[in-house]
Symmetry: C2
Subunit: 340 residues, 2 copies
Amino acid sequence: MPDERPDAVLMAHGGGGRMAQRLLDEIFLPAFNNPLLAARLDGAVGELGGTRLAFTADSYVVRPLFFPGGDIGTLAVNGTVNDLAMCGARPAWMSAAFILEEGFPFADLKRVAESMRRAAAAAGVRIVTGDTKVVDAGKGDGVYLATSGVGEVVARAPMGPAEVREGDAILLSGDVGRHGMAIMSAREGFAFETTLESDCAPLVAPVMELLDAGVAVRALRDLTRGGLATALVELSEGAKREFAVEETAVPVIAPVRAACEMLGLDPLYVANEGRFTALVAEADAERALAILRRHDASRSACRIGRVNGGATRGRVTARGAIGARRILDRLSGEQLPRIC
Amino acid sequence: MPDERPDAVLMAHGGGGRMAQRLLDEIFLPAFNNPLLAARLDGAVGELGGTRLAFTADSYVVRPLFFPGGDIGTLAVNGTVNDLAMCGARPAWMSAAFILEEGFPFADLKRVAESMRRAAAAAGVRIVTGDTKVVDAGKGDGVYLATSGVGEVVARAPMGPAEVREGDAILLSGDVGRHGMAIMSAREGFAFETTLESDCAPLVAPVMELLDAGVAVRALRDLTRGGLATALVELSEGAKREFAVEETAVPVIAPVRAACEMLGLDPLYVANEGRFTALVAEADAERALAILRRHDASRSACRIGRVNGGATRGRVTARGAIGARRILDRLSGEQLPRIC
């Protein structure tokens, strides 16, 4: 069991789970205290000069830089546009700041830039500003990438955990665990029967169609570090309600399940980079699923649970194959370091 | 002389001079091609939902993390708000993404966060979103910081090199070279007669007052990597005019001059983090100076030259103490690596 009260940074502080949360609670929130940050959404939403904007930021330290289904550049662009989409915003502009290690080959840098160009074009976002710094050989890892994004909020109703109501349907955009396991297999050279590809993809199109169609979307969350389970726990705590999930309804493709079993990992906690959960009004659930299934990134969307009443601090229960219910907690330590 | 056509990243590519320019020209501009990026301002300026916005991004890899007059946190906040101010925008929101090295002491992280809090409060900006990643011990340098900022453009007239006209006055907000030499002395343990402090400061207040007062500001540029000389060369090339600078009018405090002489550096090329140049209509020059001198960050503002006609590709000439004119070029290699 990892030390939960260290006096220095551990790898687990980057894992998006309980220790990352503590870093936010104990250092960043007190220092940068303001309501937009305290809302703990995938980005900040606010008004500037009469326009409702979403603003998000992320950094990327994935290892290896190139992996089946993408690279650090694809990841950075999709991560940014997805965070904006989760805020109900249409991505407009993004920035890219490169921290390059001395000796990083130009050929690799060009490959990353080309991936970013393609991903940005696919998501309809423009990379409009940026920065480059160089650190000494050995003080970096090829390239670290920090991106941020700005978009106009198109959602007409407010969205977020506080909007979640009893009876809402919990939808999932597709099978989980591909990204984390693709990175692991690329990093450790595991030979699975098939090459596992990351699910890394832009989620802008399905989200925009949900909003344009007037579906009563209460909250959206993409399933990155900490996986589906951590995202649901955070949402349920924000909503102060119990989420009842049917674990058997969560799609996991066979090679991901096999790899997780081999490594002793729970696919519900493995990171994804092109999956999201949508909490929608029950009355709109079937219509929402039909919309999601029209898009490549959410072709296998499904319903995985419902929101119950009660549970003032929030809680997620998952019913497994044998019918027993367990309570899901957020990721505690760090399963897979540096997967994004 | 450094190799100007390498096939891998060199420290000099992070220096903000000619090699950094080449990276932008050969890799990033072709990939991310769009007019906002191609404008090569300190940030992107555009309209979103009817609001004119500026959007900027930077990353910080300064060594050491703490130095006389500031730290990586002060630098990141002031760098971001200053880039927005240079776009004629009032800073509203910023993001902060931390790339932490495993083992980085929490005490240091808290100190950086506290510096950011203070700097953000002083500049009137809110840190509303962010991210934390952790890299393995040895793969970072304590903390790298990437920030971005959003603000509403308050300048009523367009600003930028293309707006510069013959006869405009070239103003400088204060003495140059402090930041670079403060970093050098902290890093190398040079003992100068006095402790050199970085000039790191927010430039928002003086810039906002210039704009509010209706001064005809043609272009603004803060003097970071590459120093005053590189900023003027870039502006003159954008303006396609000759800038005639009186080198004797550029203030350099005695300890900076002494340190530069000892190290064989030209103070015109040393980085600053709280200085800027303003190109303003000659008719408004004295009024602009009076405004600048009312603010701490620009107390010793002065006039250093004027814009001539001619010179279709732009050019900066500097007349020194003995009256001879030399042509200034942008910084070529890297004088002082990782000063921001």
